[in-house]
Symmetry: C2
Subunit: 110 residues, 2 copies
DNA sequence: GACATATTCAACCATTTAGTTGAATATAAA
DNA sequence: TTTATATTCAACTAAATGGTTGAATATGTC
């Protein structure tokens, strides 16, 4: 699967985004990382593997402990891809878009 | 499903990213949008619905034709979320990260 | 060696996803 | 009103996903 697919898919899960947020605060062992999650260690282990496959997380084995660390470059590519469309949220391209932008926008309330 | 989940998941598919790229060049009818894709019109119609559910695409019905248009705000939120971790690709946080960043990085070659 | 800890592997399950084909609906044109 | 066009809906399928439990592996400690 292409790199960008893996990165977007990895970030589509809230548990994995929490893992990213946690790792941004520093290197962490698998068990410690899993602690705050209301799911089995195995489930967290799978999420970590998804993040690893995308390149967002790197693993370093020290004895029986595995330390995980954030690796930014796939995140940079995600931002680079999406940023190409920045003008769609900065500019009013035509009157229709302006009209839509000023609507209550009910789909986005949740 | 939370908004951000839907936006990331929508962008995880290469067909849908092509649709976004196409819509960035202007409003398009469903049939015209589907033309370049090597899959059924129905499949493209489903992809459009995924993008719509995420708020990235808006639909405007004109008679029997449905015109599709890019809507930037979910993209902005994606960028905002990922950008929190910008320092992970701009800075060398410690010697280990620097070491990893300078490796051949084989996972990312595909 | 025996036990405990850290982590993954394997098998299973329910749900979602991405595609298909065929039928239905709505609008336009003849 | 008949026919063609634009699009979705419904049903199906195969594969992927996110979770579980139980067993395996590897390492550290007594």
């Amino acid at each position: 699967m292409p790199k960008l697919d893996l990165a977007f898919a990895a970030l589509a899960d809230p548990t994995r985004r929490r893992i990213v947020a946690r790792l941004a605060r520093g290197r962490t062992r698998v068990t410690d990382l899993a602690l705050p999650f209301e799911m089995s260690l195995n489930a967290v282990s799978k999420h970590i593997k998804v993040l690893e496959r995308s390149g967002i997380v790197k693993r370093e084995r020290l004895g029986r402990e595995h330390y995980l660390q954030l690796h930014g470059s796939p995140l940079r590519e995600v931002v680079q891809w999406v940023s190409r469309y920045e003008r769609f949220w900065n500019e009013k391209l035509d009157s229709l878009e302006e009209f839509l932008a000023n609507q209550p926008d009910e789909e986005q309330s949740s």
